[in-house]
Symmetry: C2
């Protein structure tokens, strides 16, 4: 009954103090992670109550009365300014700006000015606009390296913070033109110390990547989910796991997403234009097939746009081929998403087991999986309204599959292999 223990592999590389500006989910999590490695952390937030909460959670100490060197003339500590870290050696070596995306550049510029010997990084999810604003403001970007840890959660705020939030997650580093190698190394050490996987790319490359893997999926999920608003009750009652998965992220915060999409407008628009081209091809094919259906006296609904085509066989073949192409292209794209541990996807065997919907049953199943010495690569629970049993789909390495099936059957489980 021991707790899962953190496993420090090497001493922290990041020298303290690290100044964390902004004590929401990401700033607090970074503070917790660094404190767990023994690094001195100084917390600052425009809201003194927010900073105090992060301190109480163990994410660091509060910025004291200003004593460190300053180049600006401001007197109060705020996310826009920069308070002293206190003490003789209180000057931060590294500043992590974890402010909302729309004020990130402004806060980074202020921190660069306030701490002329510190390296400054940030966590904003769009990198090109931050850099452009820093350059426009004449900031000393030799000491700036943009950062983006891909470690969001569905919950936000300091209380949701955890020291291992970044463990195993990609952390993109975007050096500015003229960033020193020392600055890049310092931010890479920070990511390493927090257990993340640092990846260096330039800001434009980063923004195009997140448009593709994050921002466009968000827009698509929202657009599909929006269609459900006026659906009859009978229609939403037919919702299955597919719809749930496609629309899960539609339950996101509009205010945050306006900032993100607005800051990455051109790359997102570029990918969305390609999605629209695909959508237009699907629509053209469907309208052709619906028109033929009408022409055959079939079940077309006669709505606008349905009467496009005649009943010619070759055209119909073309329309069906266009539909097949879109689905096949989707499969090819899906296959490029890396699996757990970075392994190729769909390399796992799936063993499906029925589990009664009662306390302890799933635990018993998984205990017996563990007793079989088999490691679960993934686990999926399927359930539907009113169902007294669930289906647990256990993904395991293919070599372990038949042994696992045998063990579970011996122990009386209803095992279904696809």
């Amino acid at each position: 009954m021991t707790a899962p223990a953190p496993r420090p592999v090497h001493p922290a590389r990041t020298p303290g103090p690290v100044r964390v500006v902004g004590t929401g989910l990401l700033g607090t999590s970074a503070g917790l992670g660094l404190r767990a490695r023994g690094v001195d952390v100084v917390l600052s937030d425009p809201s003194p109550a927010a900073a105090a909460l992060a301190r109480d959670l163990g994410a660091g100490r509060l910025a004291g009365p200003r004593t460190g060197p300053r180049t600006s003339t401001g007197g109060t500590d705020s996310a826009g300014g920069a308070g002293g870290a206190g003490g003789a050696d209180g000057e931060p070596r590294l500043v992590l700006v974890a402010a909302p995306p729309d004020v990130t550049a402004q806060v980074v510029a202020a921190e660069l000015a306030a701490w002329p010997r510190a390296v400054v990084t940030d966590v904003a999810s769009v990198k090109r606009t931050v850099l452009a604003q820093l350059l426009a403001a004449g900031a000393d970007v030799r000491r700036y390296v943009g950062g983006h840890p891909l470690a969001g959660r569905e919950r936000s705020g300091a209380v949701a913070g955890r020291g291992d939030l970044f463990a195993g997650r990609p952390w993109v580093l975007c050096p500015a033109p003229g960033s020193t190698p020392q600055a890049l190394a310092a931010v890479r050490d920070l990511a390493d110390d927090l257990g993340a996987v640092p990846l260096v790319m330039d800001a434009a490359e980063h923004d195009e990547a997140v448009a593709l893997v994050s921002h466009v999926p968000q827009v698509a999920a929202s657009l599909v989910a929006a269609q459900l608003r006026r659906a009859p009750e009978g229609a939403v009652a037919l919702a299955g796991q597919g719809l749930r998965d496609v629309t899960r992220i539609a339950a996101s915060d509009p205010a945050l997403w306006v900032q993100i999409l607005g800051a990455n407008a051109a790359p997102v628009a570029s990918v969305l234009r390609s999605v629209r081209d695909g959508l237009d091809a699907v629509l053209a094919a469907l309208e052709e097939l619906a028109g033929e259906d009408l022409a055959r006296g079939g079940a077309g609904d006669g709505g606008p746009g349905d009467g496009a085509a005649s009943g010619a066989g070759p055209a119909r073949t073309g329309a069906r081929a266009a539909l097949a192409r879109v689905i096949a292209e989707g499969g090819a794209g899906r296959a490029r998403i890396p699996g757990k541990h970075g392994a190729p996807p769909t390399a796992y065997a799936v063993v499906a087991v029925l589990v009664p919907d009662a306390p302890g049953e799933l635990a018993r199943l998984l205990r017996e999986v563990g007793e079989a010495g088999v490691n679960l690569e993934d686990l999926r629970l399927e359930h539907s309204p009113g169902q007294p049993v669930g289906l647990a789909e256990l993904s395991v390495l293919p070599a372990a599959r038949s042994r696992l099936e045998d063990v579970l059957r011996e122990r009386g489980w209803a095992v279904h292999a696809g």
Copy 2:
């Protein structure tokens, strides 16, 4: 260590023999479920080997040499024809056609003709075209009630079949114009006997519903996933759970989906046109913001379509409002999807627990959840490449949350509440 046992609530209502035509996933599962209730099942498939496999799996007996009454003149048993069920009382009372969608109407018509006293139903996922084709062929639709059990799997074929496939799933019943009440009652009993939740709606209503909750999400997932085909490796390395969820169903069979989309062309096109309107609104807003970005000397990429707007503040506010509206509408639509047990969604509290990536650890966690007397409503495992721990997100009734957190913390688990 007893197996999860089926719980028969009342004797089966369906009188045998039930003739199952088509022994793929759905036909075999229906046979298994009916056999488990003691109902006599006769199996038929155009492939004798496929029928024999379903029999060996326990889904029923094979159709014997033809002895029952026939009105057609065909001699061999095939999915297109109708073999005799054998024996004195071998005439089927109910025929379940589980053939591929594009031949369903033809098989239903043949079965109606072959067994003039039997009720015939099917499982095709689009109902209007089947009905239209039956009416056009002059079939006796008084004995026909269309059916659609929403119980697909990612795997297909008889071997993936299971007797509880339909348990707790919606099973839509679509009476034809003139279907008798007795025919509807017989198909409703079948759905009941298989543990499904029967829902009666007309064919057009059904097809519009599945366009919304199934076919359009499939198209959207495929279109988003297709964008990944030519993505740089560095981009797909940033994939997170959001992208995985949105694109999961993109790994579907193109041949099957061409049949489904083709058979439901007009309703799918109608919803997709609404999606395209939303997409156009997002694109217009993004292009306006990207254009302003350019005008400010910012980070716009200068691609085609980026130079649309000037830097006017009010227009920018309008563009941001348009983006916020799309995300908010998506949230509102998402909120309409029913949760497990048909309860309102998002009513569960989530307790997040770190789990080392080693055999037995997840089982130990869930055993201790069970020992706390708490039932898991949902379970989600989060992991990412190279991560030595996973995050298990346990959804429980809100009343059970703090007790569960206390118990798990006492036992040494790292518990994170959002």
